[in-house]
């Protein structure tokens, strides 16, 4: 009887699995791992006649065969168009040797024109397709088509996804951008009072090969693309992008070039930063105090005069404060002007005044945001000076 029950349980489980999953892949129909083409990056562009164009970069490793030669990494670029993203994706099947597989897609590049057109219709396919990962990285391509970037960035030795991988891994060294994945984009687009921000990259020529020729183009960090709804509203480049990182409390490291008392350049290395946003509603007026605390060390001194006395360090800290203040204020002005809350001031207000937020602040947030009095305080602490205290060539070496 017990075994009969077990058998019954087994039958129900298998039958349930076969019926309820909705998948027609079972047993011999299952897609084998060697039957798929791994798509690593996709460029999304606006095509003529209202179509969507996907440019994909695939990756494959070919072994040296029986002779045991070195394995070779290969990448192919393929194009496809369709009236919808899904159609464009499926059209790859028409000529691809293997089934294009989006499960290992890591980078989505959105062309400038597509970004201006509104990214929602381009990204919906990627959020809905069960194959895709929701933590894939999204970039906006400044000044050109995403397809062009995929083409130009993909060379025989360097692949576009490797270049983007480098940016993803090392962005924190400049604090110009921070990672924005598909999940965060979905959240921000679902949250009406927030403004979408996506890191942007551009094509540039920076690397030469050993034979002195440029092969392909480099992909460089550029800053943030700011969106109004799902349409591109503008860019925050370099320093302004870093200002946004400070405001979003995402700045991890970076270079702060300031002048010492003698006028020589001193490079401070940002070690850590901490931003606090304190909204205050008084007499119907909303004020937001932003406090940014930085810790820095001295990375470079372009002078033979020492800067390690108390007054000099204090001076450097003041310079640093001013620098960050300027960067941050520019972002705030930009945001207020465009009425786009790209640094989530609304979240801070909502958490402090949840009832009032629900009553009226949320509905009129864009108008209210443009009127907010932001009071920014930056405090720098040059805390680490390391062992070499005296600059090279200093006269009073102890």
């Amino acid at each position: 009887m017990r075994y009969a029950k077990m058998f019954l349980l087994l039958c129900v489980a298998i039958l349930g699995a076969a019926v309820m999953t909705g998948c027609n892949i079972a047993f011999f129909d299952a897609t084998q791992i060697n039957d798929v083409e791994f798509i690593r990056a996709v460029g999304i562009d606006k095509a003529p006649e209202g179509k969507i164009r996907f440019t994909i970069a695939t990756q494959r490793i070919v072994t040296g065969g029986e002779r045991g030669g070195p394995e070779q990494k290969l990448s192919e670029i393929m194009y496809s168009e369709g009236r919808t993203g899904f159609e464009a994706a499926r059209n790859f099947w028409a000529y691809s040797e293997k089934r294009p597989f989006f499960g290992h897609l890591e980078y989505i590049l959105i062309g400038e024109e597509a970004a201006k057109d509104g990214i929602l219709k381009y990204l919906d396919f990627f959020t809905r397709d069960p194959e895709d990962r929701l933590n894939l990285n999204v970039f906006v391509v400044k000044g050109t088509d995403a397809g062009e970037m995929v083409r130009q960035g993909n060379t025989r030795d360097k692949f576009v996804f490797d270049r983007l991988e480098g940016i993803k891994e090392h962005y924190w060294g400049l604090s110009m951008i921070n990672r924005v994945d598909l999940m965060e984009i979905m959240y921000i687009l679902d949250t009406e009072y927030l403004s979408l921000y996506i890191p942007c990259v551009k094509l540039t020529e920076k690397t030469e090969n050993s034979d002195g020729h440029n092969e392909g183009m480099d992909i460089a960090l550029e800053g943030f693309a700011i969106f109004e709804g799902d349409r591109l509203a503008g860019y925050l480049e370099r320093e302004m992008a870093r200002g946004l990182s400070f405001l979003r409390n995402m700045a991890k490291s970076g270079v702060l070039n300031v002048r010492a008392r003698n006028g020589s350049m001193v490079a401070l290395e940002l070690i850590s930063s901490n931003r606090k946003m304190k909204p205050e509603l008084m007499d119907g007026e909303l004020r937001v105090a932003i406090e940014i605390d930085l810790k820095c060390n001295i990375a470079e001194i372009q002078s033979s005069e020492g800067v390690f006395d108390h007054e000099s360090l204090r001076y450097l800290e003041e310079q640093s404060n001013q620098l960050i203040m300027d960067e941050v204020m520019k972002v705030i002005e930009f945001a207020r002007e465009k009425r786009l809350d790209c640094f989530a001031a609304g979240d801070a207000v909502m958490h402090k005044y949840p009832c009032k937020w629900e009553d009226y602040l949320e509905k009129n947030w864009r108008d209210i945001f443009s009127e907010i009095d932001f009071e920014v305080t930056v405090r720098t602490n040059v805390s680490r000076t390391y062992d070499i205290k005296q600059p090279i060539g200093a006269k009073d070496i102890k």
């Binding site: 077990m6 298998i14 699995a17 084998q32 791994f38 490793i61 029986e66 194959e131």
Partner: protein, 541 residues
């Protein structure tokens, strides 16, 4: 009557023996059945005797009847002697050649019979029997037998019988002299720090080993006999006042109910005493180490030692016991906890890895890290088979190698293993029959399975590994999950002698986790496993 030749004193009478003594009908007892059945195939006289036995009347204890019983056996020695040279005092000596120690027979039995003057003074054989019983022939293990079956049984058990036809009485002396294997190091359960002895084929040597390790007067070694043709002695070992007597009684009941011709392997006893015969998972602990055997007895379990088999059985066998190695208790508890927890991890690895690999490489490719996925793809380049086929092929190939290694002689077995693993494996990869990734997966699976301390448990995992691989090939991880649920259901519904198989993990017995996945210091293991419901619950304090 069963004796202990080591100590030369009568042992506890078994329940079975008691039945024999009280019942005149030998067919009611397996021991006499064995003795009488052993005579089957003899001449018509013997057949007539057997029919007499079946009809309830036993043949008389005479030398002629005994001779008739063993008429066709070439190893039976029958000598007619005259005590002290007196022709009016005849005696027949019967024993099995090779089983008894002939020097002892000469020195301690024949010599006094021929030379002892006090025996020559006797007027009748009954007087001689009385004198022998009172020590004229000085051997401690002596019995006076008045029934044919008892006498015959003693003879086949290795005794020398002196049959006095006039009195229809025999005096038997237990003078076993069968050459036995000496105690050697265990072959399958080696430890670095720990005892180096193991069980041997002789039951008495094994019980002596246990006694030497447990000098506890409450240690009970009961003996019963089973097997119609072999009349194999089985010792049931437990500690009175500690062990749950319900387990002991139930074990005895199951052994009594065992109807079998022979007990020449542990499997017959194991199958007779387990609750779930359809489960591949072992429900008894088997060990060849007396120290491990004793530790389980002290824990509150009941041991079984079978004559002729150098492996003991302990009941009830629970899941966690199969993941404990003898070495566990010789190491630092910190080191051992890590190793033991690793063993649990490896159990899951050996069980699930092939299925998991099939699932992720056929159904959930997106789960694999991209670089690994690309490497797997590259390794599968040119392999025409589905991953599922590859994995099953390799799993089967591994089973074939294991089987071949076991069956072949040791030296050739090693060579075959090397050839199989290295040459054939590499050739299979080169020939694009399997991908290197699958070889690695199966190798990890196989090595993980070798870390299981119990071979029976490892075998069960091997079986379930195939089931999981098949489930995974049908519906991926969902299938694997279903398989895991079925296995969990199977394990959690099992009870062995009333003890939950998964204890201490189930059954509200979470208190005894000090010796499960991790081994806590001995000082914190204050109580015996609650699930065993021992009479004496405290280990210390």
């Amino acid at each position: 009557m069963l004796r202990d030749p080591g100590k030369n004193k009568p042992m506890r009478r078994s329940r079975f023996a008691e039945k024999t003594d009280t019942s005149p009908a030998p067919e009611n007892s397996k021991a006499s059945g064995a003795g009488s059945d052993a005579a089957a195939g003899g001449n018509s006289q013997t057949d007539a005797k057997l029919s007499d036995e079946r009809s309830g009347t036993e043949p008389g204890l005479t030398s002629a009847n005994v001779e008739g019983m063993f008429r066709d056996s070439s190893d039976i020695v029958i000598r007619k002697l005259n005590i002290n040279g007196r022709k009016d005092l005849p005696v027949t000596m019967v024993f099995v050649d090779g089983v008894v120690d002939t020097k002892s027979v000469d020195d301690y039995i024949m010599k006094p019979l021929i030379q002892e003057s006090s025996l020559g003074e006797c007027g009748s054989t009954s007087e001689i029997i009385d004198r022998i019983a009172h020590g004229v022939i000085y051997h401690a293990s002596m019995e006076v037998r008045r029934t044919f079956s008892e006498c015959v049984h003693d003879i086949v058990d290795g005794s020398v019988a002196l049959i006095f036809d006039d009195d229809k009485t025999a005096v038997t002396f237990d003078i076993k002299g069968f050459p036995e294997r000496s105690i050697t190091e265990p072959t399958g359960e080696n430890v670095i720090k720990g005892a180096k002895d193991s069980f041997v084929e002789n039951l008495r040597t094994n019980t002596a080993s246990v006694r030497m390790k447990m000098k506890n007067p409450r240690l009970v070694i009961e003996e019963i006999k089973t097997g119609k043709q072999t009349a194999t002695k089985i010792a049931i070992v437990y500690i009175r006042g500690l062990t749950n007597m319900r387990i002991v009684d139930e074990l005895k009941r199951r052994l009594d109910n065992l109807e079998t011709d022979s007990v020449l392997s542990t499997g017959i006893i194991e199958e007779a005493v387990i609750d779930h015969k359809m489960s591949p998972f072992p429900q008894v602990i088997t060990t060849e180490r007396p120290d491990k055997f004793c530790s389980t007895i002290v824990e509150g379990r009941v041991g079984i030692i079978i004559d002729g088999i150098p492996v003991s059985i302990v009941v009830p066998g629970t899941f966690e016991a199969f993941l404990q190695a003898p070495e566990d208790y010789s190491q630092s508890f910190i080191v051992n906890s890590i190793i033991r927890s690793l063993r649990y991890v490896l159990m899951f690895v050996t069980l699930f890895l092939p299925g998991f690999y099939i699932s992720v490489s056929s159904f959930h490719i997106e789960m694999i890290p991209t670089d690994l996925a690309l490497a797997i793809t590259a390794s599968k380049e040119g392999v025409p088979f589905l991953t599922f086929i590859e994995v099953l092929f390799m799993l089967l190939a591994f089973e074939v190698l294991v089987e071949a290694g076991l069956r072949l002689p040791k030296t050739i077995g090693q060579a075959v293993s090397v050839v199989g693993a290295v040459v054939v494996g590499q050739a299979a990869v080169d020939a694009r029959l399997v991908s290197p990734a699958v070889v690695v997966i199966i190798a990890i699976t196989a090595i993980s399975s070798f870390t299981m301390p119990n071979q029976d448990f490892s075998n069960a995992l091997r079986l379930w590994r195939f089931i999981f691989a098949i489930f995974s090939s049908i519906i991926g991880l969902y299938g694997l999950s279903i398989g895991a649920i079925i296995l969990l259901h199977h394990l959690s519904s099992m009870e062995v002698f009333g003890v939950p198989y998964l204890s201490p993990f189930v059954g509200g017995d979470g208190k005894n986790m000090q010796d499960a996945v991790f081994r806590f210091p001995f000082s914190s293991q204050k109580k015996r496993p609650m699930s065993l419901r021992t009479t004496n619950k405290k280990r210390r304090g």
